[in-house]
Amino acid sequence: MEDLYSLLMRDVRFEEGLNACMNCGVCTAICPAAEYYNYDPRRVVDLVQTRKNDIILGLLKSETIWYCGQCMSCKTRCPRGNTPGLVIMALRKLSQELGYFTESEKGRQQFAIERFVGGNILNYGYCVASYVLDSKAHPEQGPIWEHYYANLDSVLARCGGELNGKEGPLRKIPDDTLDELKKIFDVSGATKLFEAIEKASEAKAEELGIEFKKEGTDNDYFRFVISADSGNHQIEDVKEEEYAARR
């Protein structure tokens, strides 16, 4: 097996994000993910800087590297100028390139992000757009989104736009521009990464005996990865009475 630390060092974000870590733990103290998940960025960085293949391999297959929310608060606070968030981004990239991300419940979710966000970018030129956010699939968006989603044309017109018009908010991105995006994806690595995510996900779906389709989000494996929750990720829940007492 190739030396994983050397592979990480090929990522400029890793080179920039990790000098010598002195294990002070300030990153963990400031980290929103560490308040919610069993997550300790200090420990992740400390494990990586051992440079040991088996330890880095363990991280690439772990749930741990998928807990960070990339707020990058750690960058502001590290007294050594390190960025655990960038180390995480390099680990995630490598985990996907080598196909290890399907070994964890949280890692398998990358398939859904690639299909949904990646698909939106290439099909529409937006990461998200109002017409791809079905209000039935997003109850957390509340009653205003039900109204908005049901009346997209009117809402946009009210705010001075034209849905899929020639200019302004949520204009239709021209086909030749979408072609340029696709070519950029081809030459700069996104297409290759998408293919790696697809290949490993299809293999995992087959291993688990779950329906997989070559395109789109209407398949059992997509539904499985976005909703699976072992319940083993979070720190202990705040007790209801403690929550009430704090208010």
Binding site: A33, Q96, C127, G142, I173
Partner: protein, 353 residues
């Protein structure tokens, strides 16, 4: 301390924002959830301040949500941003105005990377040329759109029809300001006031008559967390972060929240609805929710824009109590109209409605 020393001490917290001639790049989230805000920014800039803001409809997403969702490689997002620079170069613009805080963070990250690792700039140039035949000049400046409104806050104050003051009591409104994490936590020198003393929204609020609420979790993330919201199974992360902020700000009885990040504005609204629906809890006074506004909406209100054309009604937490306090007479029955002007059914269970 001598004024000279003070000036030197604060120099690193200053940011130079150009006076005119901007190339504007939109935000996927702001276009989706608060399209009136971007339109208000353009109206304020062009009509109220007489500035030149150019937009090329061929600009696209920066791919930032995909990048921070870890499916878009760094080399790809650099090339997409290089393409935006190419459109600006083609149009003769050197100042980039960025609607989105995630995009803004990405532009700062890319420009800093190109500076410290020059070979990455060459790769981006090669990739862009190979894919599209395009070339580009580096911009002379990048500003978040809130930087620009901040710069002209006193001009806006001079034209204001309303102030952030309760007309019934004469007291300044108590405002919570929330800065998107990627505005300055990564590269403090690119933000007004840096990461320690972000002043971009404070300056607007204070210039327009309001008071800022300081509270313990003021700088905590709203909880977007990219994959932590994008994936259904992870959304508890996002909700928990916002709840932590609401609980922290509640004792100070804020009357509005204002943000400069499209995602934060959305989450600080949506999670109030979820908490209200699930637990029956609201965080404002007298059982009300706290309206969560974009800074463009706030600026538009101050300048006397129609609240319903700004899109203020498209939040779960309605701004009606806030409008009454400011003294804006807006007909609630005109909030939800169809394209042809007929009334659509009012959504049920909105907060403050």
């Amino acid at each position: 301390m001598q004024p000279e020393g003070k000036k030197r001490l604060w120099a690193e917290y200053q940011k130079s924002v150009p006076d005119d001639h901007f190339f504007y790049v939109r935000s996927c989230i702001r276009q989706t959830f608060f399209p009136g805000s971007e339109q208000a920014f353009l109206k304020i800039m062009r009509n109220d301040l007489g500035k030149d803001v150019f937009e090329d409809p061929r600009h696209t997403t920066c791919t930032g949500i995909g990048y921070h969702g870890d499916v878009i490689p760094f080399e790809t997002i650099q090339t997409v941003v290089a393409r935006q620079f190419s459109l600006a170069t083609e149009a003769g613009y050197k100042n980039i105005a960025i609607s989105c805080v995630t995009s803004f963070g990405i532009y700062t990250e890319i420009l800093e990377t190109w500076k410290h690792f020059p070979e990455t700039l060459e790769t981006a140039r090669e990739n862009l040329y190979k894919a599209t035949g395009r070339v580009f000049d580096l911009p002379e400046s990048i500003s978040h759109a809130s930087d620009i409104i901040y710069k002209f806050r006193d001009e806006i104050a001079a034209k204001a029809k309303y102030r952030l003051v309760d007309v019934n009591t004469g007291k300044p409104l108590r405002v919570v300001e929330h800065i998107g994490c990627h505005y300055a936590k990564m590269f403090p020198k690119h933000g007004i006031g840096g990461a320690e003393f972000p002043h971009v929204l404070v300056g607007m609020v204070e210039s327009w008559g309001g008071d800022i609420v300081d509270y313990p979790e003021r700088r905590h993330c709203c909880g977007f967390g990219f994959r932590q919201y994008l994936v259904q199974a992870n959304r508890g992360y996002s909700l928990s972060s916002s709840r932590k902020k609401f609980e922290s700000m509640e004792p100070y009885q804020p009357e509005m929240i204002v943000t400069n990040c499209p995602g934060c504005a959305m989450f600080l609204d949506r999670w109030q609805y979820v908490i209200s629906d699930l637990d029956g809890i609201t965080y404002g006074r007298d059982g009300e929710g706290i309206p969560s506004l974009t800074y463009e909406e706030m600026a538009g209100l101050v300048l006397g824009y129609d609240p319903w054309e700004l899109g203020l009604q498209y939040h779960n937490v309605q701004a009606l109590p806030l409008l009454r306090k400011i003294g804006i007479k807006a007909d609630p029955d005109k909030r939800f109209l169809a394209k042809d002007g007929t009334r659509l059914p009012e959504p049920a269970n909105l907060i403050n409605s």
